[in-house]
Symmetry: C2
């Protein structure tokens, strides 16, 4: 065999992520995944017995990587706990400016399939809950009156900036949200 199963799985997930994120899930056929990955159709179905499972695996891997990338940036760029929440928006600015940025994969997937595929809806919801929990951790290190309320406000700014950057194409949405976050942090 040319490639073993682990290698095939990785290549399939790479292809799935590129195609699904760029074009949406229903617009991408399994044959496009095969072509992009170079993995045969037979092998594809050995690794993922159905498209739905490939979609969920793609979302799960992206969830993990996305949050890890964010946390890494915050850990290495924030000098004080008070800086950490603002570093989140700096990371957003970089993300929004990446070529091929097309918004949040989970928001897009949820909008497309949330009411049709319970699996996709669950993974998307779980991703957002993990993001909220991460923000909550950053806020916990601060001395604020109502940490849950502040967390919710920061979370709202992150989601709003992502949607606006995706639809308007303007990465400056991160800067706008960062300024709002700074004001909220200063008066929390």
């Amino acid at each position: 065999m040319t490639v073993d199963k682990a290698e095939a799985t990785t290549r399939l997930l790479d292809a799935a992520e590129a195609e699904f994120y760029e074009r949406g899930i229903q617009a991408v056929g399994m044959d496009a995944i095969r072509a992009r990955s170079g993995v045969s159709l037979k092998r594809l179905y050995q690794c993922f017995p159905a498209k739905e499972q490939l979609v969920e695996a793609y979302l799960l891997r992206r969830d993990e990587r996305w949050l890890r990338s964010l946390a890494d940036h915050v850990r290495t760029h924030a000098t004080t706990p008070a800086d950490a929440p603002l570093a989140v928006f700096d990371w957003l600015a970089e993300w929004f400016a990446e070529p091929g940025f097309r918004g949040c994969a989970f928001i897009n997937s949820f909008g497309e399939l949330g009411s049709t595929s319970p699996g996709v809806a669950a993974v998307a919801r779980a991703h957002k809950e993990q993001l909220r929990a991460y923000l909550r951790d950053l806020v916990t290190a601060l001395d604020v009156a109502d940490p849950d309320a502040l967390t919710g406000q920061l979370f709202t700014l992150v989601e709003g900036a992502t949607v606006i950057a995706a639809m308007s194409g303007d990465p400056g949405a991160a800067h706008t949200a960062r300024a709002a976050a700074a004001t909220l942090l200063a008066h929390a």
Copy 2:
């Protein structure tokens, strides 16, 4: 004929709005529109020569009605110009609590078809620009140092609250965003 063309068009748009908003666009076949509207397939294609045109007409009508509903609420509930931006979030709270609420139709459509259908992408973008312009009008009536910046921040909160309410199912996202907006307004 049972119904004239105007009546058929209205019924088709009603059916399209209900089906597309609830289930997404690609998941809804033209036959579902026919069944829900009671308009024959032949007539359907006389009113809308292709699905894409029905989709765009649905989004255009929803854009107009959505913004009008918001503006009506703000006009009748805000007592002072300073209250107006907060009234936006009160309206959001009511919208989020409606049965069948499934987020913003334009965010969902953009996520599903934004990279595939230029027409859908354009209508969705135009909707968001109209919302931003409306918020800008509300902010213009205030005496703030940087009205464009405040507009952007309020816009971010509106979009973020909508996404969070849709995915978490918690209408309380409107309250969280309202509190953030109040803080930003107080310190603008």
